[in-house]
Symmetry: C2
Amino acid sequence: MAILVTGGAGFVGMNVVEQFLNDGKHVVMFDRLELSKSASAVARPLGSRLETIVGDINDAKGIKALFKRFEIESVVHAAVVTSSVAREVREPKGIVETNVIGTVNVLSAAHAARCPRVVYLSSGQAYGKTHDERLPLFEEISPSRPDDIYGISKFAAEQIALRLGELCNLQVIGLRLGSVCGPWEFDTGVRDMLSPHLQVAQLALRGEKAIIPVTEVWRDWIYSRDVACGVAAAVRARTPGYRLYHLASGMDWQNTFATWCSMLQEAYPRFSWRFASEGESPNVSHRVQRDRSPMDISRLVNDLRYKPRFAADAAFRDYLEWIRHHESFLLETDESQRNTNDCLLPMRS
Amino acid sequence: MAILVTGGAGFVGMNVVEQFLNDGKHVVMFDRLELSKSASAVARPLGSRLETIVGDINDAKGIKALFKRFEIESVVHAAVVTSSVAREVREPKGIVETNVIGTVNVLSAAHAARCPRVVYLSSGQAYGKTHDERLPLFEEISPSRPDDIYGISKFAAEQIALRLGELCNLQVIGLRLGSVCGPWEFDTGVRDMLSPHLQVAQLALRGEKAIIPVTEVWRDWIYSRDVACGVAAAVRARTPGYRLYHLASGMDWQNTFATWCSMLQEAYPRFSWRFASEGESPNVSHRVQRDRSPMDISRLVNDLRYKPRFAADAAFRDYLEWIRHHESFLLETDESQRNTNDCLLPMRS
């Protein structure tokens, strides 16, 4: 019995795969990308329990074939295209196809194979415009007003997944993720919004200078290893009480970014950082213009017994340690992926 | 200069096409279906201003070609698949492809051709679950919680259309329609929810007996000719103040269905009707289980100077007159479309 992780070679997918392998599970990783060289090196010791399949989420037959070839007990559907404004204009259809049609493909295949559980990784972006007052959002109660094609497609895919679950007697759990940073983040070519944490880490590794925005946009940050724990909890839950859960840290990371920059500077003395002066463009950006309201996580905590482990400080310490051991991964993806992937966009500022 | 009406051979599309032809406009009707024989007979006198093109909304190239072949000044995008539960389970992908990807195709082609205006026909189903208290819904203020694949796909397509309009400098207007009945309704094979008004009309024409539900599900009924007027107002508006409008009658049609049945019985004496007894299954259904809240139409009335002309009584008189002149259309589609279209589903009760 194996767990299928779609988008498994991507940022969140890698964390999920690693978590399951560490838990002793068999994992089928499905992705349009090959596992990068350094990621393969890390996965090798666990390799006998990891199958990597390169394929496209839009290929319904290919997805169906996975369920014939492997005995899949659960699916974590993480395959997705995030989007900058440039991508929205250039390839709206590609975003919708991967995010929505891809999800229908996965659900249909799971249903046909009578796979009992699908965990769909949704996003806080499904809420769209949220209040500046930072009032917490609650699942089902807070309305969704997604306002970009990414958010619209995530909301649609999540709701279709839940609806098909209901109609097809398939246990579907939707997890709305906060903004993620941490291990395995890299530029896959379909992630237009890299975290500022990764952006400065890349500058640090190259010994460059970071100019960061003075005002920190409020985000519901969650450390990627905590995401993996939350996903594992959703896969494990025998009788989940709900179909939709927030997956965020539940902690306030506001104004911690300078701390991260300082920690990097200590570890990489050739790197330096400062706040942008008035009128100056930062070379690190939050990629988003707006604050978001925090997502309440009591449902996940109480019902799925998830406990976030990483406040900002702990996350940064752990991430720095991880970076030190994975410099080649960051540099490798920073260079090769960037140059080989023609989908890659200029960063959104 | 012509107006392109996608889904133009369908129920709402035909009303829109007829309205524009009567207004002296040139119309390009795009549909996957040929115009039916009797509809063609009606359209013939206006024929020199009507081009009918058979094609698929999922064929992006075909859509683009339309804009090359004709000089399109506005698009009314009405092509859609409505859905019963059976279709949701059987072909979720088909619903999403036609409703969402099809919309992206139309918007992309309009953008490429610098067509200035696209009117997207959305649906009150985009709201999903609304309160039973019948509190009115207001555009943007009332949250959308679509709960079936049709509603989810309509909401997604509408929001993507508005978003692309904003990004691509294209005037996109979304109209959320109430439940429509009236002229040109027929079973296209992709309309799983025929109005009860058409269902009894078909029984009346065949001289059969109608057994109708005792309780009338509350719906925001609007007469199809009023829909066409509202659409024309949206196409015409020089500087619309909003991007999203409700298009409903703004009138309460509750408990008028028996009146319609009685009018039919008077006109077709071989037909009779009665309420279902306790435990008896009606042979006419509302196809929906739930009441919906009414959509407030003041935005449309005040900003686009739309004035609904048909309260229930006036609508029924007009529809009866129309039916008398189009019996062959109703019988033709009732028989031939039903048997030739393999998508056709048993009616949802």
